[in-house]
């Protein structure tokens, strides 16, 4: 019997946040998608301050390439950070998306200290070989300014996934115990706030590599219309995936998706 989770309440999230975490919070009972909310907000308000959008459920949650992200009520966290950018050219996407993954793991570890989290490149978070968290960054312009939206979807206690993903997706906690999602949201925001100023140092890479579950596994990386098969060796200093292909060449990839893994 899955745990009953406290509903998402803005005041509760705020209460867990240190005052210096200067993120403006917006909570919703239901939205199409928090990423879309964030983009709409950017266009209408043209804000230059960091915003967070958190929903109890999403009717049209999505991940990479518009794929559906199952976002039922009561069991998950669906949130997006809206980050105004001064110059997108100074943005380091590889370190950012990998840093986001490590931050979310740090946050989750607070509420789930005994759980073993692992990372699939680029930033999928896994528990027991099932994906429990997806992170998607989107970059667009509104009113002449660049924005990055960081969408985070966490299956906290979600179970009963649709048949087509039931094998691959999983919730972090499946039995007993109360879980405070507001606490988790606050931890994620705090962890992100800690990472953001110095993520370009790449200091998170050491932890990323520890959590990296593809090391020495045979993987298929699909890049556009091509795919590459080889052994995943490590993650490079810019977040790229280092693969040794079957003919022995070692290359780093900064685009594409790992579509198959042989452990």
């Amino acid at each position: 019997m899955p745990a009953i989770n406290n509903p998402i309440v803005l005041a509760k999230i705020q209460s867990f946040l240190a005052p210096t975490v200067a993120v403006h919070l917006h909570t919703y009972a239901e939205v199409g998608s928090t990423n879309v909310e964030a983009k709409t907000f950017a266009r209408t308000s043209q804000t230059n301050e960091i915003q967070a959008f958190i929903a109890e459920q999403q009717s049209a949650g999505y991940g990479r390439s518009g794929r559906k992200f199952y976002s039922p009520e009561g069991t998950g966290i669906y949130m997006s950070l809206l980050l105004p950018m001064a110059r997108i050219a100074d943005f380091n996407v590889g370190l950012f998306t990998t840093g986001a993954a490590v931050s979310v793991v740090d946050a989750l570890q607070v509420s789930f200290p005994k759980t073993v989290f692992q990372l699939k490149w680029v930033n999928d978070i896994y528990v027991n070989r099932q994906k429990c968290c997806g992170i998607l960054a989107e970059h667009f312009m509104a009113a002449g300014r660049d924005y990055v939206v960081l969408g985070i979807g966490i299956n906290v206690t979600t179970a009963n996934f649709p048949a087509d993903i039931a094998r691959k997706a999983g919730g972090i906690q499946t039995e007993g115990g109360a879980v405070d999602r507001n606490r988790i949201v606050a931890d994620v925001l705090s962890a992100f706030w800690r990472m953001y100023p110095t993520y370009q140092n790449g200091g998170h890479l050491a932890k990323y590599r520890d959590l990296f579950m593809l090391k020495d596994c045979t993987v298929r990386l699909t890049v556009g219309n091509d795919s590459v098969v080889g052994t995943a060796l490590t993650v490079a200093d810019d977040g790229g995936l280092v693969i040794e292909t079957t003919d022995g060449t070692i290359r780093t990839f900064r685009s594409g998706e790992v579509t198959k893994v042989n452990f």
């Binding site: 210096t20 996407v93 989107e138 556009g224």
Partner: protein, 1144 residues
């Protein structure tokens, strides 16, 4: 008999074809579809495919089809070779039925020897001993005990109903027999339903010795001596030799005669081999192979008799003596010894797994005493998995076995096969083994000698270097852009410097002769200031991210020593060079040290050493630090400049001791910060530095170094500081500064006037900005001064011209600093940190954030109590500055709100004492706020580290490398485990790439270009790239090379996908000035195309979505318009700036 069909393939088919041709007979070959391009098909006079539709091996077993082919082409006889149908009685009968002569024994004889039981009976009947064993199951334990008593232990208990290795039990001693027997019986009953046990004597160290027998149709049977085939792996023969030299001649004769007796007893016809196991002077019949054997070659070599021709002649009905004219048995002699090695595609490093692939290049041995029986070995030959993995039989013949082994080693070394792996390295190791050379190896030899798997990688494998060039040419060098033209200096450097004049004494001469104290004394008595040249270390570390390669240093090493013998020392190691050599340059830093030491024997070598981190970035146990210093000293370092990023003495003491133990020069270092001229900055005043210097002297320093890493030591400050130190200390003073603030030379002039003993300079071409001040400029700045350094300025200029030529190799790694940065006097930011921090502050997106960050940096330094700022302490200050700017915190805010703040990890670790204790201690209030209850360290973190277990680490590393590592490798692994392992992996693939010139190393080779590589003195590799093909459907390119004149093709998968090669058209870029041209903003791939040609769009409408590192970028229309052309397709890989959409 005119036409002979060879019912076989590969080398034995070729062998038989040759025999036919020498006899004037027509040779007909058969081949399976998979062998359509095999040599044997084209060597024969006629060749026909067999077994169409069959599996590859089955084709050669297709008896009916083979007979059909034979009949259709008027074949008179069939030679079956070995394997396949050679022992198939049914086939022999079919041949007879078809009126075709089967070149071999009668079918009944094939039946007879095909059945192990019958064969054994034949042997026994002929009076030949077999392996003692019970014919019937033993009825009781007593019987078993009697058997054991008669034949000796160990014995094997075999379950009657067992088989295939099951139900067998070895009993070593008589005492064990009772229990073993009872257990074996009951287990057999349970497992197989019957408890019956047979017994057999177990031979524990037998030799495998076999006898070549031939017999004609006229009742003549003779032997052609014996062969020793003991070197086997899992019952597969690997190496054979003749005769069995380790056995006494009498025994050998006895065995041979027994073989003849056996074969004669059944009136055998044609060739056969009788196999025995020999142990302790006794021999036991094993089996008969009624055909020609793979290793017949060695018998042919020692006797001069052609066995295959003899087989054919016997089949023709000829008499051994009357017709074939073989000598009578008692007149038959042999000459010398012969060895055969089966060269296969089995990879000994991978448990002898057979490799497959295409042979890219091949060179086969030859010469005096070498015989080759080759399958299909030629450029382009495809090695398939369908048939056995034999490539070539290499045979040698010499006067005796050891000489033959040496000749075989020579022949094996001449084997150059690329494209598939071979077992040649393993065969070489066996040849070198004294047991083998004495002929003593038994069938357990391979299992008993795991050392045979220790393969020494050849220092320079040309194949690997070419592979490296091909890889870099197609796929580039990580992080380095491809240049249209490779850079090479205009003039080649020639060393025409005269030898050091006699009577000139270098500092190293003094050290070698008088020891460390001698050098100190000598130095203190020098009138002039001396120079240390940092070009090979700090200069390029500062300017080019430490990327200089050993080759560029070695080229000028000998010349430099001759040109500038008056230099005090050469800084050429330590700092970041150790890490960068392995991680980025694929070079061994120890090799750099050894090679330079060899080239510059009379020069003092200096290294920068981080007190508790050696050449790494974390604390290591003391025993690792000590060992590192000992090994560095042993391999050539004379001067160890030891520093700590917080000037904390305890982190330097142990290293100073270790250097003194090694008998080398310990240079204790004070890191200079602040400004002793500024009365408001009194933390690091003159008194502080003086005391620190005295402490360093007491701790045993032989010299005192002043390390001005930020370049903030103003000239007047230098004067005062050096004067004070020269006055207070008994040891020489060595000054190191960076020219970041533009005052380097002025500082050196002042210091020289104050009496400094040595200053650090760099060759002009590598000097200035973040590097050291220029050597030439320093020299000239001291014109007119008594202490002007004693160097030959013309030589300085000459050597500098070399460095001028080297500098452009590394421009891709420039740090971008183009002029003096004087605000560093205020921020005290070390030059290396400046550009990094600037970049990071831009990402905060807060207007003029860089100015704010710099201000905050200074404020943070004050909050921290003003600490020394050099890696890693400088990073802590930088991280805190960014944190405060992003959170909009003032220093007061930090104190007020600090309890609720989550500080950056590096800051927490710093306050926890992880990098040591700062001068004056930590500011307590701030420390409490940051640590939030965590207990800080007050001791040296390294003292808490458990000593490293070198032996355990060596074992661990041996497991990973699959060979025994050297001590230096264990040490490198301790300091940089993952970096070292990654380096090893690349080394295994590419070999020693340090011999490449730097342009080729980073840029590969261009079409039409010839690169000459000197791999060792006098050994050159001439590599020309002819062409690079366009990528095929799998993105694989074929590169055509000439390597030392021989044509060679290498295929490389182009993983840069969409690489703009000269031959293919690249995607056009968007013209940034044209607002209608919309380009990609990041390299990656196209995920969505949302518009089509002709579509009207509004401003801001989404056009294309691209992806990189899982960020999807939506590219929007900058203005309203109509889509004129979409030039992006979903799934396409794109680069930053590629044109995606054109609007009108």
């Amino acid at each position: 008999m005119k036409k002979i069909l060879i019912a076989n393939r590969s080398e034995i088919a070729t062998r038989i074809i040759r025999a036919c041709h020498e006899l004037g007979l027509t040779a007909v070959a058969i081949y399976a579809k998979e062998d359509a391009l095999s040599d044997h098909r084209f060597e024969a006079d006629e060749a026909y495919q067999v077994g169409a539709g069959d599996q590859p091996v089955a084709a050669y077993l297709d008896m009916d089809d083979i007979i059909r082919v034979a009949k259709a082409h008027d074949v008179d006889a069939i030679h079956p070779g070995y394997g396949f149908l050679s022992e198939n009685a049914a086939f022999a009968r079919k041949c007879a039925d078809a009126g075709i002569t089967f070149i071999g024994p009668k079918p009944e004889q094939l039946d007879m020897f095909g059945d192990k039981v019958t064969a054994k009976q034949v042997a026994t009947d002929a009076g030949v001993s077999t392996i003692p064993g019970t014919k019937e199951p033993v009825a009781s334990y007593q019987e078993a005990a009697e058997f054991g008593a008669t034949h000796g232990f160990p014995i094997m208990l075999k379950a009657a109903m067992g088989g295939g290795g099951r139900g067998m039990r070895v009993v070593d001693k008589p005492e064990d027999l009772k229990e073993a027997f009872e257990r074996a019986s009951s287990e057999a009953t349970q497992a197989f339903g019957s408890g019956e046990i047979y017994l057999e004597k177990l031979l524990t160290h037998p030799k495998h010795v076999e006898v070549q027998v031939i017999a004609d149709q006229h009742g003549h049977t003779m032997h052609l001596f014996e062969r020793d085939c003991s070197v086997q792996r899992r019952n597969q023969k690997m190496i054979e030799f003749a005769p069995a030299v380790a056995l006494p001649q009498a025994l050998r004769t006895e065995i041979c005669n027994a073989a003849v007796k056996l074969m004669a007893s059944v009136h055998y016809v044609n060739a056969a081999t009788v196999e025995f196991l020999v142990e302790d002077g006794k021999y036991y019949f094993l089996e008969v192979n009624p055909r020609v054997q793979v290793e017949h070659t060695v018998t042919e070599l020692i006797t001069g008799i052609d066995i295959v021709q003899t087989q054919i002649k016997i089949a023709q009905g000829q008499d051994l003596y009357a017709d074939i004219h073989l000598p009578k048995q008692n007149e038959l002699t042999y000459n010398g010894a012969a060895i055969q090695c089966r060269v296969t595609t089995e990879d000994p490093a991978n448990d002898f797994m057979p490799d497959t692939g295409t042979i890219v290049s091949s060179k086969l041995p030859g010469g005096n005493g070498v015989r080759l029986d080759v399958g299909s070995v030629f450029n382009g030959a495809v090695v398939t998995p369908y048939f056995d993995s034999l490539l070539a039989k290499t045979c040698v013949h010499a006067a005796d076995l050891p000489t033959a082994a040496r000749k075989m080693t020579r022949a094996l070394n001449e084997f150059k096969i690329q494209g598939v792996k071979t077992n040649v390295p393993y065969l070489r190791n066996v040849m070198a083994h004294p047991t083998f050379q004495a002929g003593e190896a038994n069938t357990h030899f391979i299992g008993d000698n795991p050392d045979l798997f220790n393969f020494k990688q050849p220092a320079h494998d040309p194949a690997k270097l070419v592979q490296y060039l091909a890889d870099v040419t197609v796929n580039g060098f990580s992080g380095v852009p491809k240049r249209a033209e490779k850079y090479y200096p205009e003039t080649t450097f020639t060393d025409d410097f005269a030898a050091i004049p006699a009577g000139v004494e270098t500092a190293k001469d003094v050290l070698d002769r008088d020891g460390v104290d001698g050098v100190k004394d000598w130095l203190l008595h020098q009138d002039k200031v001396l120079l240390t040249d940092t070009t090979m270390r700090d200069a390029h570390q500062s300017l080019f991210a430490t990327r200089m390669r050993t080759k560029d240093m070695l080229t000028v090493a000998e010349a430099t020593q001759k040109a500038l013998p008056q230099l005090f020392s050469y800084e050429m190691w330590g700092g970041a060079t150790f890490d960068v050599a392995y991680r980025f340059l694929n070079e061994d830093p120890w090799a750099r040290l050894k090679q330079l030491r060899k080239a510059m024997p009379r020069t003092l070598f200096q290294m920068l050493f981080r007190g508790s981190n050696a050449v790494g970035y974390q604390d290591y146990p003391d025993n690792v630090i000590q060992d590192f210093i000992a090994e560095s000293a042993k391999n050539g370092i004379d001067v160890f400049r030891i520093f700590d990023s917080l000037n904390w003495l305890p982190q330097m003491e142990k290293s100073i001791e270790a250097v003194k133990d090694a008998g080398k020069i310990a240079e204790g270092t004070i890191c200079y910060t602040g400004d002793i001229l500024d009365p408001s900055r009194q933390k690091y005043n003159l008194a502080y530095y003086k005391q620190l210097a005295l402490n360093l002297q007491s701790a045993g320093s032989d010299m005192l170094a002043i390390k001005d890493m930020a370049g903030v030591l103003k000239p007047q400050a230098a004067y005062e500081l050096v004067s004070t130190l020269k006055d207070a200390l008994d040891i020489p003073v060595h000054l190191h500064t960076h020219d970041t603030t533009g005052n380097g030379v002025a500082t050196y002039v002042a210091a020289t006037k104050a009496g400094v003993d040595v200053v650090d300079v760099a060759a002009n071409a590598f000097s200035g900005t973040t590097s050291q001040p220029s050597m030439g400029a320093t020299y000239y700045a001291l014109s007119g001064n008594d202490r002007q350094p004693d160097v030959d300025i013309d030589n300085v200029e000459k050597i500098n011209r070399y460095w001028e030529g080297v500098r452009p190799y590394y421009t891709d790694f420039s740090n971008g600093v183009t002029g003096a940065l004087t605000n560093i006097y205020q921020t005290q930011m070390p030059g290396g940190q400046y550009s990094n921090l600037q970049q990071q502050s831009k990402s905060l997106g807060l207007g003029d954030s860089w100015a704010t960050v710099q201000k905050t940096y200074t404020a943070v330094n004050d909050m921290f109590g003003d600490i020394i700022k050099v890696t890693p302490s400088s990073k802590v200050v930088g991280d805190m500055a960014l944190f405060m700017v992003q959170n909009k915190l003032t220093p007061q805010d930090v104190y007020d709100k600090g309890d609720t703040l989550d500080f950056p990890k590096s800051v927490i670790d710093f306050f926890a004492g992880d990098i040591g204790q700062p001068a004056g201690g930590f500011p307590e209030k701030l420390q409490k706020i940051v640590l939030k209850g965590r207990e800080p360290l007050t001791v040296r973190p390294g003292s808490l580290a458990k000593p490293a277990d070198f032996e355990a680490t060596a074992t661990e590393l041996a497991g990973k490398l699959k060979r025994t590592p050297t001590h230096l490798e264990v040490l490198s692994y301790l300091i940089y485990p993952q970096v070292f392992l990654d380096y090893e992996k690349r080394y295994t693939r590419y070999g020693d790439v340090s011999v490449l010139d730097t342009s080729s190393f980073f840029q590969g080779i261009r079409e039409g270009e010839t690169v000459t590589i000197e791999t060792e003195p006098g050994k050159t590799l001439v590599v020309k790239l002819n062409t690079i093909s366009a990528p095929d459907a799998d993105n694989v390119r074929t590169l055509s090379f000439n390597v030392n004149g021989r044509l060679q093709e290498i295929t490389i998968k182009d993983v840069t996908i969409k690489q703009a090669a000269a031959a293919t058209s690249s995607k056009p870029k968007a013209d940034a000035a044209d607002v209608n041209q919309i380009g990609a903003t990041l390299s990656g791939s196209v995920v969505k195309v949302l518009v089509k040609d002709g579509q009207k769009v509004q401003a801001g409408e989404s056009l294309i979505v691209t992806e990189a590192m899982k960020m999807e970028t939506t590219i929007q229309a900058p203005k309203a318009g109509t889509v004129k052309q979409v030039s992006a397709t979903v799934g396409e890989t794109i680069e930053n700036g590629d044109l995606l959409v054109v609007l009108s």
